[in-house]
Symmetry: C2
Subunit: 710 residues, 2 copies
């Protein structure tokens, strides 16, 4: 059998993932949605989330239409292959679909989780986690569908005449597929930024007026922004996260495929990452079967149940990756290539290790977060300083872990003797980290469902016993959300590095045809590259600034609306009249859609303008700088935010004076500062660093040909 | 006349600067120190500052002794030229002396400024500014003394046998002088970090107990930490700043000298930066004569007076730099070299522009800071978010300005045809920025003197009229402090870039002798370099985290001490007994000295360990990454801090409810968060980024020879 025929496993893997997701979704729908009130609340959340996504997709469609035209013109001018405009659309479509399905199932599972929890802890966990698995397996399934469709079209239709020249065929296929990513990236950025602004504007707005001014508890149905708050959890944390990881997953696989040619691995190097992805689906599927708990409500048992699934899947990868690499890369005849197995392992372990570090810094079981809570005793200022300081410190180990993983991958893959093979190793280590995405994303997407379930239990006034259980589920969700963010940014960094390398590779391809005189000078002492590096390092700061400001402005408008409703709707605060939830959802939607434009444009404009001014070398600097600083800033913001959140929970659990104490007020302020850090700016940076690379790849010809300094 | 004989102007310039400083100091001492109470307070501040510096120098001496032995061993093993251990000591000595003299005159001028202000606005301005000029001209004078001594020793003693071979002679001289910088850098880091921790621990500690718990006003003599607070202004803002800029100034000149050989400019290229420095002293001196105001107390007149001095000096440089470059670089015969004039100009203008940008973001006359004040209306959380967001946004233009300046310098100096000449251009642009240091540092060092004068006026209960004037002086000092920080970080970035290039140059020199097989791979895609880049970008975050935590811990100990005194000294709060000021000063001293060690060690260990693991290419990545991220993080922290400070002042001036309002409480919290941002972590990063480069240069042989991956 020819190695390239293995490809048939990719659509099979996709089908397996999608069937499993479908089967899980069916199972969830059989659970009861609880009493009438619960159904009503869940329906309101569902309606709001649907409305937001529909309008978001409509806005984004405009952008996609414009881009389609621009890319069409470029294709017409022979700067791009003609199918790229279509691939751009398909990437955006599948990324959006991943987010949409995840959101659909999450909003269907929230009331069911609340209801199931009333029957037992394990039932609640199963429903919430199953909802997460639907999301996880949909993302990987759709990703492989997208890859299958384009790979087959390219290989068997557009480039079928090159069947006799596999090297050239792979080169053209992979080069084309590399340019596809930008659609998915752009969609992911809109989803993350828009969703992030929505969720935090609603959250902050609801808290500022409800909790602080009107003195009503969180998740109280009298608060007009309460539904918007719950909608936000779904559109930000679920849909945004799905689109984000869809994109990392596809990008890691495609970048590895693209680097296979220069590494000299031909179809073996193409199949290796694809087979890893397929096997990862099986490993993840088996892992999910291990996620179950008894009736213990403590954090450690629940966390243990979720972790068991991830660890089982990872262990399977450790075992299964060896024969995959051995066979696809023909290690029997090229024993040195088995080093790539260690590249895969280093990526896998780096993902697990970053998760563990994140947990250490953000869980209130450990010292760092406890220190932030203690700082609450001396007021908000010391709480803020200590949280920022914690976030900054927490970047050290992830940097060292990613650095170590990059070096191991490079050297184990033979980078010392063949540079391109080393780079292939780095790229496949990103695949190693991401191949268990089915289950890691499931544990992550579980969080917002549990959060919503808690909100519904509160609003529907279920028994305190049930609420205690949903609180336990929710609290674990906070931890998995934090580790999920660590994983997302770690994989984004490795993927972005692979994309930087792929960009250089792409330019090398284009030089003979578009600018034969061009010479690389990628030295760190080359001034345009150095200036690009500075600009790149600055980009995540600019981006964070804009997105945090956007949350501030959007929250202000919610504050005004909630105040208006309290004043103008008679009987609202007494509980005799109903709030106009839709108005708040609508307001959040409009603000989020308006505010998501500027940050997204930066991601697109920076590499393009930077490229036209500073040339290819300058863009390389921008990409490397943005990746390094984005990685570090995203970790800092996510961990500062996570620690503040849990420090508040730690105080609320009765420490340092408990609720209502000075320390509580201080940590609540910390938590509010942390909200846009960890849920808007931080996670959006992941996408920014991938997007800039993909824009550079897509517009590589333009940069190569029209740059002022080249 | 041989061009190299122009060197005689350097010692003359040094003498001119030192004489002018001496003359100004004499003039200040003739002013009256005011009444007995003022003298007493001033004496207490002086004693405290002296005590701190004495003990700091004693601690640092241990470090210098250890380094002397290490370097001695390295010299003995033939890894270094034998005079480097001595040069290391001399650099540290002159850097320390710069700080010490600046502090001496500042603590002598504070009461005199208060007294002079009672006679008139212009008199007060003159005394405070004259004190700044003493500092400014001492720094540049001592820097040229250090350069003169070593240059003459090297040229006329150690390498006099090479008089017939000027190229080789310059190469050896400049290579040796390049390694001298680390002594000055290490001293500056200790001074900045130690002083920064002292000043903010005292400030935060005094505020937390005095203002918040005991309810007594700022600068109230009953507060035991009040003297420590005023001491802090001198040891942190004056001594630390002096040591910092001494080091940038010397480094910029020496790096340019070192790059002259590979650029092929020989002695002309050595003399050009030196003559710029000498002429800069004359231009600064003339500029100081233009600093005078009428009796207007408004901010703009005072600021205008100070700015006039800087602008006059800058204009003189614009005129004078042309003949200097023309003559030293023999442009009559090499007309292309006149492009270097534009490199000098671009550096000069970049310095001025960064100052203006800083002012825009941190002055309450403009929108950004006003927005932070408005955010105070919705509480501390929004104040913090908006301040951080402002700081992040404020990094955009400085990055673009420095980037533009780098590109202009590179291309104007002929970098397209001769790469080394372009790099020489970047380096001399740093000299262009720093050559007016005499006067820019004077306007900066003026701030703490005015601040102290205000404190003394308050404590000595001078008439409200005088206090209004000292307040006006102080307020302008806040703005010049902010622009001074912008200038310091801008010049540090350009200097650090020059040092990175000089490091590569140095390694090239060493290869034949120490590791002939070594090959550079400075490509941004080289994994060790890329990993180094990530580590470099992370370093300023780690460093900031440690120094902010240090302030927190030190402030806690002050809080305990002040509480103890309030409890144990009967009659203290009633004003009938005197506080034990010395105990607080002593405590701050001990905390600062203990806490300065860890951050300083990072600066030394990171490039050394990183180098041993990742090799020369990895170190290049570390240096470039640390420079880019340090530059951006330092600006963000300085500007966030400055904006919070002025937002508080804006509210205190009666806006948004004025003192005691909700907005005031919120902005006070912002200001407290900003204190360690702008006065400890931010400014220390300047030195960190230069120190890592200098450590790399000093230990270049070790890195080249013993690295694991080379």
């Amino acid at each position: 059998m020819l190695i390239e025929q293995l490809f048939f496993l990719v659509p099979l893997g996709a089908l397996l993932a999608l069937f499993f997701a479908f089967f899980q979704a069916k199972k969830i729908m059989q659970y009861s949605e609880g009493n009438e009130l619960m159904q009503k609340i869940s329906a309101a959340i569902r309606t709001g989330a649907n409305a937001f996504l529909r309008r978001q997709y409509r806005s984004v469609a405009v952008f996609f239409a414009i881009m389609f035209v621009i890319l069409g013109i470029m294709a017409f001018m022979d700067f791009l292959t003609p199918f790229i405009p279509f691939a751009f659309i398909s990437g955006g479509f599948f990324s959006a679909l991943s987010g949409f399905i995840g959101m659909k199932i999450a909003t269907s599972a929230n009331a069911r989780t609340a209801q199931a929890t009333s029957e037992g802890m394990n039932q609640g966990l199963r429903v919430a986690f199953s909802s997460g698995t639907v999301m996880g397996f949909t993302v990987v399934g759709l990703a492989l569908v997208d890859i299958t469709v384009w790979y087959m079209l390219l290989k068997y239709v557009f480039y079928s005449h090159l069947n006799h020249n596999p090297t050239e065929q792979i080169r053209l296929i992979s080069s084309a597929m590399l340019t596809f990513g930008m659609g998915a990236s752009a969609m992911a950025l809109f989803a993350r930024v828009g969703g992030g602004i929505f969720t935090k504007a609603a959250d902050v707005g609801a808290d500022l007026v409800g909790k602080v001014e009107a003195g009503i508890p969180e998740d109280d149905p009298r608060n007009p922004a309460v539904i918007a708050d719950n909608v936000g959890d779904n559109v930000g944390d679920v849909a945004g996260m799905g689109a984000d990881l869809y994109e990392s997953y596809v990008a890691a696989i495609v970048a590895t495929v693209a680097l296979s040619v220069s590494a000299g691995y031909e179809f073996g190097g193409v199949m290796a990452p694809m087979m890893m992805a397929v096997f990862g689906i099986i490993a993840s599927l088996i892992g999910t079967l291990f996620v179950r708990c008894g009736d213990k409500t403590d954090q450690l048992s629940l966390l243990g149940a979720l972790r068991r699934g991830v660890y089982v899947s990872s262990a399977l990868i450790v075992i299964g990756a060896f024969p995959i690499i051995w066979f696809t890369l023909d290690c029997a005849n090229n024993p040195g290539r088995i080093g790539i197995y260690f590249a895969v392992l280093s990526g896998l372990l780096a993902g697990v290790a970053i998760g563990a570090i994140t947990e250490y810094y953000t869980s209130d079981s450990f010292n760092p977060t406890k220190t932030v809570a203690t700082a609450g005793l001396t007021g908000p200022a010391t709480t803020i300083i200590s949280g920022i300081s914690l976030g900054m410190l927490s970047t050290v180990f992830p940097v060292l872990i990613v650095g170590l993983s990059v070096l191991i991958s490079f050297f184990a893959s033979g980078g010392l003797t063949n540079f391109s093979q080393g780079l292939y190793g780095i790229s496949i280590s990103a695949v190693g980290m991401l191949c268990t995405l089915g289950i890691t994303l499931a544990t992550d997407a579980y969080g917002p469902v549990a959060d919503n379930a808690g909100g519904i239990a509160q609003m529907a006034e279920l028994s305190p016993d049930v609420r205690k259980r949903t609180d336990a589920l929710d609290s674990v969700g906070n931890t998995t959300a934090a580790t999920g963010k660590g994983f997302a940014i770690g994989s984004a960094a490795l993927t972005a590095l692979a994309l930087v390398v792929a960009f250089i590779d792409k330019i090398e391809d284009l030089i003979p045809r578009y600018n034969p005189d061009f010479q690389f000078n990628l030295s760190i002492t080359n001034p345009p590259l150095l200036v690009g590096l500075f600009i790149g390092v600055m980009l995540p700061f600019l981006f964070s600034s804009l997105s945090m400001n956007a949350v501030g402005r959007a929250a202000q408008s919610i504050v005004r609306e909630v105040r208006r409703q309290f004043k103008e709707i008679p009987g609202l605060l007494e509980g005799t009249a109903e709030a106009d939830y839709g108005a708040c959802v609508d307001l959040c939607t409009r603000s989020a859609l308006r505010e998501m434009i500027a940050p997204a444009l930066i991601g697109i404009a920076a590499p393009l303008l930077g490229g036209l001014l500073l040339g290819v070398n300058g863009v390389a600097g921008i990409l490397a700088g943005a990746t390094a600083s984005g990685f570090i800033l995203a970790i800092m913001m996510a961990n500062s935010g996570g620690a503040w959140d849990n420090a508040k929970k730690f105080v609320e659990a009765g420490n340092h004076g408990g609720k209502g104490s000075e320390a509580h007020r201080a940590t609540v302020i910390g938590d509010t500062v942390g909200d846009p850090f960890k849920d808007t700016a931080g996670p959006s940076i992941n996408i920014l660093i991938k997007l800039v690379s993909k824009v550079a790849i897509l517009f590589a010809v333009i940069i190569l040909r029209f740059a002022i300094f080249s």
